[in-house]
Symmetry: C2
Subunit: 345 residues, 2 copies
């Protein structure tokens, strides 16, 4: 009887789909990551056909070691995430193992948190919360411009996106409910490379959203954006995309939000930029090295920066949809059928 | 030469309007509230014609004492706020003194913060930030349902408003960019009393926003709302509107957001409800007794409640618009002309 390995309970909704799939299930019974040994041992089982795995769980990193451990019938490794920076996709594919992931279903949830972080950063919420928690509110009572920040409905704002995929577009559609209608924002974005038909692509975007949208190079998204939003995938070209040079290009009144992956923004450079008033503030749902982020991390300590523990896709409906897609990928892969969402590189 | 008293610098934009108004200006030179004596002394000046004053500044509370101190030519007291719970309007009007305030110009800014608090509360951001700041992220790493909250795009959500004036409507127009389009939310609101033409009023609202909108009584906004938003003015009928009874009626999965005035929500009852899981969480921009809120206030300490230091209208553009309206009210009042925005009770 072929088996599916589940490295962590994925919720009642998705577990019930697995239970009726006809496969034997090997489920990590702890509400914690299993040991690497446990994973490798079960993957070596000649009857193992697929695995559901987690991003950010050390046991589940798909490297040469894990791939070498796979038994002859492992056909699919399905990650409970969109990102696949923890997976050596090329090496897996070379062994005939498909990689599944969960795009699409979390776009709305991540866009919600991105807009929330834009508002929180513009309104200096990190500072506001810290002030209240320190019992300092009475020392800084209401005054005409106390605790103020830039206005999201400021006329002719420029919003810059690093990456303009589905999540960026979902974010934009929400942001347009906040920005000025009489003086709408201008949207700039950058992507890995300009397309031959870039002008018509941008024209289609502009028509879809009813505002001017244009692809530009890295320097211009930095220099012109009042709000700079990082929503690109992590790869060697995007690591450290926002570094000291980029931050120095940014307006001193501009804010930065990262809801993609930590390494796209260099933490040391960002801490330096905040400390030196090179930018107004930052909102991060992700940070390099997470979850190993200590209380004395300079970005955690800064009152100009809010750091959230990677909650972008964290609403119950979304996580259940991700879980369902993750297990359906694994089931399809185990059967030798096409995945619902396969990573190919 | 008639004079205008300015109890606090209202920013360069509005000060320049005052400077060219033709009135002599008496301006508090400190970036802090003046003493009560300073205010009363200048109000007694026979040439004093109007005053620009602040909400939440103890020196500026418009009670019998302040009104009795006014010289014979004081015609207008103009507050830099929408709310006028610090002003005895009736007593002022009986003396022929008009009360100016600043409605309209801050609707968008307060709506921005209201939506932000809805998102923050649903996504348990208070808990997330506290966890990161305590260095606990590594102990609670990513897992399928860790740090999750209810989804704002959940099908057929009910959103309840206490008060459905301009700010509530601006909030709703933003929230609809986040909610499900295939299963849109139902909107309930309550107001001081049903109108004779309530059905046609609600029909007009429903058509304007493209979702079902209906006025109901207090018990129903509490019982049916997944998101309950307080945006009513403070008066004897609204103080303690959200009390233990109301909170017990609410769903255990529902959230409460207050961006109006602190006393509309009873703090002790809310702390009790959060402690006993009567509701999912709360987001407050205002709290009774502010700014005298200590670090050990139960709502400040709760990880289910975020408390912001009354930043609702706190973006620079909005505060400059409020300042302009405040000084124009004072100038018009001092001239004996109609105010741009007068409070009447």
């Amino acid at each position: 009887m072929p088996k599916i390995l589940i490295s962590r309970h994925v919720g009642d909704h998705a577990m019930s789909i697995l239970s009726s799939s006809g496969f034997d299930l090997i489920v990590n019974s702890e509400d914690a990551a299993p040991s690497r040994e446990w994973v490798l041992k079960h993957l070596a089982d000649p009857e193992m056909a697929a695995m559901c795995l987690m991003h950010g769980q050390p046991s589940d990193i798909v490297d040469e070691e894990l791939l070498n451990a796979c038994g002859p019938n492992v056909k699919c490794l399905s990650t409970f995430s969109v990102g696949f920076d923890h997976i050596n996709v090329k090496a897996a594919n070379e062994r005939g193992i498909k990689i599944g992931h969960t795009p699409g279903v979390l776009d709305d949830a991540v866009a919600d948190v991105t807009v929330m972080l834009v508002l929180m950063t513009m309104r200096r919420v990190e500072n506001g919360i810290s002030l209240v928690k320190a019992g300092e509110w009475a020392q800084i009572p209401w005054a005409p411009f106390v605790n103020c920040g830039p206005s999201i409905s400021h006329p002719s704002l420029t919003i810059s996106f690093i990456g303009f995929g589905r999540i960026s577009q979902a974010t934009l559609s929400r942001l347009l409910a906040f920005t000025s209608t009489s003086h709408p924002p201008r949207i700039l974005y950058t992507s890995s490379r300009a397309r031959p038909d870039q002008v018509s692509i941008d024209q289609a975007f502009s028509e879809k959203f009813g505002v001017e949208i244009k692809r530009v190079e890295r320097e211009q998204v930095a220099k012109q954006g009042d709000i700079v939003i990082v929503l690109a995938s992590q790869n060697p070209q995007t690591v450290d995309f926002v570094n000291k040079e980029f931050l120095t290009w940014m307006k001193k009144t501009a804010i930065l939000v990262n809801c993609a992956r930590g390494p796209l923004v260099n933490s040391e450079d960002l801490a330096w930029a905040l400390e030196n008033d090179e930018i107004y503030g930052a909102g991060l749902d992700v940070v390099t090295g997470e979850p190993n982020v200590s209380a004395d991390h300079p970005l955690v300590k800064s009152r100009k920066c809010v750091v959230l523990p990677h909650i972008g896709s964290g609403d119950y409906d979304t996580r259940n949809k991700m879980a369902e897609l993750c297990v359906r990928n694994a089931i399809n892969g185990a059967k030798g059928e096409a995945l619902l969402a396969e990573v190919k590189v």
